[in-house]
Symmetry: C3
């Protein structure tokens, strides 16, 4: 065996390098109060974040990403309860990696059948148990209501890591963080920034990632001129849920729809694509007709986001193009979660610059 | 979304507050020798604990509970093998939380089908493997004998976390700890304490939690005037196992039985209720006719204990009454296990006051 | 209950004691350069190790085993991704114990059905995810090619912990380490050492442990006079894979075959026995006619190795004889993996004597 066959490059740069998080860090002025306040909230919906609250989270995420080894112990002595009752590795490991990188310990539950819930234990009692066992809960459950049943009894914070078709707020924060890493000017209050046009290949009313993402956009309406939903004809009638479109429009963001991807692509700055929707115990795939490939008529400086895992909708021939910001998005999700988790367990004062 | 909807109170007091563990701590004089001696024992049965050994464990548990942040690293560098071959989250997380809170690392096995045992590996060989991999084993297995097969080959301590219908000694210690937190005078050697009457809704011969609990009571016969077993008529003939009733009576504790809950309740100081019995791969439910609710004719200062998870036998309308000591019992179980684990891996000298 | 029944001896000596690792440590002169170089390699095949590279790994393993408490934090802040898509406890816990003993944190995946792979995610994307989440990957997968698909996208090192019928290189290193602990003179360059004759009860072409072991032997041909493969008549035609026999013979090691165990045993110094071969989702058992027992005609000073878990092929009546080096082999595997992992995550300089 040739040693070359088994050697690898640690330093192969990310698609986007660390210049981007550094630039984002510089673009936002620290205001630690917003981070300190997060300590007393459960994270349920993207709705609950203010513009400035998000900006401060993105800043802390960028601080972590710009210098990944600077902080290694702010969560020392803290225990995460990682409860994934719906199959997931990507999100679970993203949270667990974030927690470990900050020096905390973890207890995982990866299967509902191994738990008391299988014996009919109510979620309020599970929450009461969690109060005694850990300092923070991350919950994924295909039942939308489980989160709320637990919340009522929790004296430690819980994070919604995907509850059925409802929301997935930390994914949306990571999506926004990727956009602002790409264009730090968009996160500022400057009046003369060039607004972007975002296309979403997906179904706002069926996909929790899209639902939460749209809610985040509302707070940054000064950066977004238009959102175009690209969809199958089949879902045209149920594309938007209650108030989804209205919330964007009230914020001053134009909303349009399209069922012709290639006609729409040339005008988009950000293309967000997702095909899977979690519904109950299973998932559905939408937009089978829509494929992004290196041959797609993308604007030359457009970026593609995808919450991953991907299927055929996103061709791997895009991976080595500069359109690929989905890998940066996935990487950034760890740092974004580090920022959020630090705040939630009352350790923000260990990492903010001025207290 | 209103931020109020997602805010929570960290400091909502426990049902019982920390005055109780502090009072218990004061009620017992430290004698570290008893704790040092635990290092060379497997924990198999509630029978193996002396009165003074238990008192010292309760004292250390109370020391931990009275000041949860005082000791965070006594188990640093120690590895727990958490082997739960029978479904469980509550007990597993209770042990794992206890271990993590003391700074140790954990390797979990939550499914027999992922192990060599599935390929027919004998437990003696598994034990031999464990000797090399960790510093302490916690085992739950529905086969009563697995524990003993492993013990013979272990050079590190093992804890029985429930072996079929046999025993669950750490649960029983946690039960006793809850009683003594409630009434610290009961743990003392004082001659003039007011004895309590304990009712047990359950089947001593079928329930491992009850079996272990009764064995603990034997050592505190000066605190217990009577044990009343409240049971279905259907199990009247097989209520007690070999020597169970005799052991209590020899210790001077009256034993009586009843099949009328509401008639018995008004005379009880402690009501211990459990409906589930683990038998082989499955479980049975007993006492379906017995329900405790806020309307039950409880003595005004009676407390209720339940090993949890609960079913319909224990109504949630009791949760916010002062009868609810089952939440305190569950919480205390973590601190009790912290005390026991510290001793078992030879780190008691790091936490006792005088060595 | 008698306390004697639950007491145990921590200090019951290993079959072989720590004199052996100490002697091995003395037999090899440190050359840290070889250890530093391992940092940029994936571990795929036993082929990739040079003689001196192996010697230095064995030396570091012996340093760890000779004084298990000397180094407890070289992996602090490092995260292991332990991905076992094929059932395993022994190998998984061996790696995880090695990592924890050096102070690192772990994220485990023990079931493919809980992962994105179940939804059709490609392994290249999983690898991309792993780049962001951890510092090292240990992979077991019954598909030989999974490892290679991941490698292409990884910027962190991956270790092959068994890929189908192909290889299991760290097991083979542990096997060699056991042999050299037993006879440290064999690892030296001395010209006048007494070569050993190794019998292998197994099928080189079907068993990954045997395949990797034979590749390691090639580098120590000065210590091995002959390898005898003891096999069922049924597999005679497919005993060796492409180049397996030739590679040994080119290195100057005689290769012979036998189907008569008891006739062959009296001439063997080392008897390596294994009955199970992993093939796809399942396993096959070979050599059902071959049993080693205390009554087998072993040379008086012969040692037995077995990768474990064992079945009927290896009788437990050998456990308390001095032929039993399989327990020492299993124990040593933890220290061998500690040595390898330390190097792979660029922490060798923390544990080598002279940098």
């Amino acid at each position: 065996m040739n040693i070359k066959d088994v050697s690898f490059e640690r330093e192969r740069p990310d698609v986007c390098g660390d210049a981007h998080p550094k630039a984002l860090l510089r673009a936002i002025q620290e205001d630690g109060d917003y981070l300190l306040k997060i300590a007393n909230q459960h994270i349920v919906s993207a709705d609950q974040f203010s513009r400035e609250g998000m900006r401060q989270l993105f800043r802390l995420a960028a601080k972590y990403e710009a210098n990944p080894r600077r902080f290694s112990t702010p969560l020392q002595g803290k225990i995460l309860i990682s409860a994934f009752y719906e199959p997931s590795t990507r999100t679970r490991l993203s949270f667990e990696s974030a927690w470990h990188r900050l020096g905390g310990d973890i207890m995982s539950i990866t299967d509902r059948s191994t738990t008391g819930i299988a014996k009919g234990e109510c979620l309020a009692d599970v929450a009461e148990m969690f109060n005694n066992y850990g300092d923070c809960v991350v919950l994924r459950d295909n039942n939308e209501d489980s989160l709320h049943e637990m919340m009522d009894c929790l004296r430690i914070p819980i994070i919604n890591a995907g509850n059925g078709v409802d929301e997935h707020p930390t994914q949306a924060l990571a999506d926004m963080y990727a956009i602002f890493k790409w264009r730090p000017d968009l996160v500022t209050d400057s009046k003369d920034k060039q607004k972007i046009r975002i296309g979403i290949i997906g179904v706002p009313n069926k996909m929790r990632t899209v639902r939460s993402f749209l809610k985040c956009l509302v707070q940054f309406s000064d950066a977004v001129s238009e959102v175009v939903i690209i969809h199958d004809e089949a879902v045209a009638d149920s594309l938007f849920g209650n108030n989804q479109r209205e919330q964007l429009e009230r914020a001053g963001i134009n909303v349009s729809t399209s069922n012709d991807l290639d006609k729409t692509l040339p005008s988009l700055d950000v293309v967000y694509i997702n095909a899977i929707s979690w519904e109950g115990d299973s998932f559905n795939t939408y937009g089978k007709a829509f494929h992004l490939t290196a041959a797609s008529p993308l604007k030359s400086d457009a970026i593609i986001l995808h919450p991953l895992a991907r299927g055929e909708e996103l061709s791997t021939d895009l991976d080595h193009t500069h359109h690929n910001w989905y890998f940066s998005q996935a990487r950034g999700a760890v740092f974004l979660r580090m920022a959020l988790l630090t705040c939630m367990v009352q350790r923000a004062e260990r990492v903010i610059d001025v207290v």
